[in-house]
Assembly symmetry: C2
Homo-oligomer: 425 residues x 2
């Protein structure tokens, strides 16, 4: 059996073809397959139509030895993925009493007292001989089977269910197809662009075969992924450690974390570890920092709150900043950024506080300040640091970058790194 | 020539297959094609590989008479969409001096003084006889041609460029393929689920042929789209108005807007129209309302600012709420919601102010309050309205729904509708 597999992702759902939703399932599955070292050469999307699904399936069989479907497992008459796939591979469907019981239980919990619509039970039919993927996050079970030399995996369409079953069922199934396993670490970077990182680590990124080092850009963030293939997790780790050490030597404190879900998640973790509280006074980012912090469950232990001061008056009223200072220096100025962080810190008595003021555009404010100018400040009991940034245009991009700079300053402060170190983004 | 067209979207880019990015281009194009009444039966994604792209193209030719490609038009050696498509359709490429000049100009503007890398000029090659799609948002031009009975349109991959050229070049091109044109209005609804809306408008949604009425769910919002096919815009409008009137009779003040980009965009517009200012005190939504408001350019004219009061102490310090009230009633209570909005309004002297306090979970707070309980308040000079909501679980979904309720209350207040009307979401 070859260890090199080729997968095709076949997403089923008319709502994808109508543009009602974006195919995040295919992205999420591809990302995981790439980590497992499985090639993905095609994504295909078809509607809830048996003929076109059958055709797409025949095409996929010719060019992949792993087919992963998403969608079409639910209770409505449009949900026909299992039926079409079973027929195409010559498999019978059987009624799984365990799954039926679980569907009844789920239904009773959510709709106590109401009879179960009959079509709900169609979800309990599964191909004979398949490996069941029990769905703890919804009612439709997924499954996997091998037929005609192809491994077929079926996952539900709703992204929350698809993701959970990908991680808990599909990946363990796929890992067993190889006698080697793949493990990786993600290195999160702030303060250098992709090309600068590539320059530093060109040799490792081009010459290594196992482990490997690859760049990985996602939503404006630069990351690296170090991946090793080995017989065991311990062996893979032993292969990865020297590479991670080389990366750390090359990038130093540009690395802000390893294997985290997001910058905000790493900041919440770091603040908890250091038992340190944070607050924020935001102007141009308009609550984005607060919103990203509070999107992390448990953030309330370290994030006390903040203000969105979207007018000069609110800067005075909420933070007590002297209006004449704003008039003299301008709302977008180093001094006002400094005042925002220090006043915020005093008001909420947090260990640290961040201030962000800038001109997000698209239009200027009539002053000499150019669109894209942002001042980000960090106040502690003894210091106040300010970064002056010129972040260019693009309101959303600029606001995200300004918040990331604030996170970077907090991270550097808490880990004893120079807060105003050289940075270029 | 038939007026019924079938399109396939063929996205080219290894980064899609690696799961680095999500295919928003296919969603955006599908949405527009659906508005134009063009069927989309397949999306296909292939990597930057000439053989597999050629194969995917051959398959697409068999099943579509419009093929729209995204990606692979740039300057790198991986960018081969034009070359592969020209070859597959037997067309020569020519060097377009106008496009070349524009690329040179773009490059000089961005990188003054640096020589243009030679590979940048490959973008100036286009298939002989094509309709050029000039790219005002980047360097790579797109194009369209007809060959072998198929209309082929090529758009760049970066979503900003793809979207702009879709709207400015591809849609006008596609409109000309039919002697009738399609126009639509989107009806935005808050306060009723999709099935309740369908029940009200079942006849219109199932029996009409031209104009049509179709549901349209996107990121948790319920919308309807009324579409008419006619020889002119005026004729289409005349067909649509009676249908819109029927929808308005059925749904009444559940309709919050027509043809808007988002709930927040409609609220900013409405506040401007009524010359009314807003501020917000947020607890469980942690700045999400402020962030959504300030994501709209020009929001500063009406949104003065807000506070994120993520601890009991911050509710007292920033808003001056009596700590004994919070202790007696609990942070998640009707009274505290009321206090938050009224104190916020007084602090920033805005016409209206919103307060949001709730338990977003996933964990409880040790009190009797269940996860998902949210109080949303709206204070004016004379009134304070409070909605008590039970929004279930799912931190992100719950926070979004709570902010939407606040927007709905503002909208109802400003348009003279009952602020606490019956709602069910």
């Amino acid at each position: 059996v070859s260890n090199i597999h080729t997968a095709e992702i076949l997403s089923v759902g008319t709502e994808l073809l109508l543009g009602n939703i974006v195919n995040t399932d295919a992205r999420d599955i591809s990302e995981k397959l790439s980590e497992l070292g499985i090639n993905v050469f095609y994504h295909t999307v078809v509607g809830d139509n048996p003929e076109r699904l059958t055709q797409a399936l025949e095409t996929a069989k010719q060019r992949a030895d792993i087919i992963i479907t998403t969608g079409g497992l639910g209770p409505t008459c449009d949900d026909l993925t299992k039926q079409v796939l079973a027929k195409s591979f010559g498999l019978e469907l059987y009624f799984d009493e365990e799954e039926a019981e679980s569907i009844r239980h789920f239904f009773h919990t959510c709709h106590a007292g109401r009879p179960i619509p009959e079509n709900n039970m169609q979800q309990a039919y599964l191909p004979v001989g398949c490996t069941k993927f029990h769905n703890l996050w919804g009612t439709a079970p997924g499954c996997a089977f091998e037929a005609d030399g192809v491994h077929v995996l079926m996952l539900p369409g709703p992204p929350r269910e698809c993701n959970a079953m990908l991680n808990h069922c599909a990946i363990p199934y796929l890992r067993k197809l190889s006698d080697e396993e793949i493990f990786s670490h993600t290195i999160h970077i702030f303060g250098a662009g992709e090309s600068a990182v590539e320059e530093q680590l060109h040799r490792q990124m081009t010459e290594l075969a196992n482990p490997t080092l690859a760049p990985y850009a996602k939503e404006g963030e630069v990351m690296l992924r170090a991946t090793a293939k080995a017989k065991s997790h311990a062996e893979a780790e032993a292969m990865l450690q020297p590479l991670l050490a080389e990366v750390e030597t090359a990038l130093g404190d540009l690395i802000y974390a390893y294997d985290v879900a997001s910058f905000e998640a790493s900041i919440v973790g770091l603040l908890k570890e250091k038992q340190c509280t944070l607050s924020a006074a935001e102007s141009c980012t308009g609550g984005l920092l607060a919103q990203r912090m509070t999107s992390i469950p448990g953030a309330s232990a370290v994030f006390r709150g903040g203000v969105t001061v979207y007018s000069n008056e609110s800067k005075s009223r909420l933070l007590g900043i002297d209006p004449t200072l704003i008039a003299e220096h301008g709302a977008v100025s180093e001094l006002v950024a400094r005042e925002m962080a220090t006043h915020m810190r005093e008001t909420l008595e947090t260990d640290l506080s961040v201030g962000i003021t800038g001109l997000a555009g698209p239009d200027g404010d009539g002053s000499n300040t150019s669109v894209g100018t942002v001042f980000v400040s960090l106040a502690s009991a003894t210091d106040c640091f300010v970064r002056e940034l010129h972040l260019g245009t693009g309101r959303t991009r600029l606001r995200t970058a300004a918040v990331n700079h604030a996170f970077d300053m907090v991270r550097r402060y808490l880990t004893g790194k120079p807060v105003l170190a050289e940075y270029q983004v």
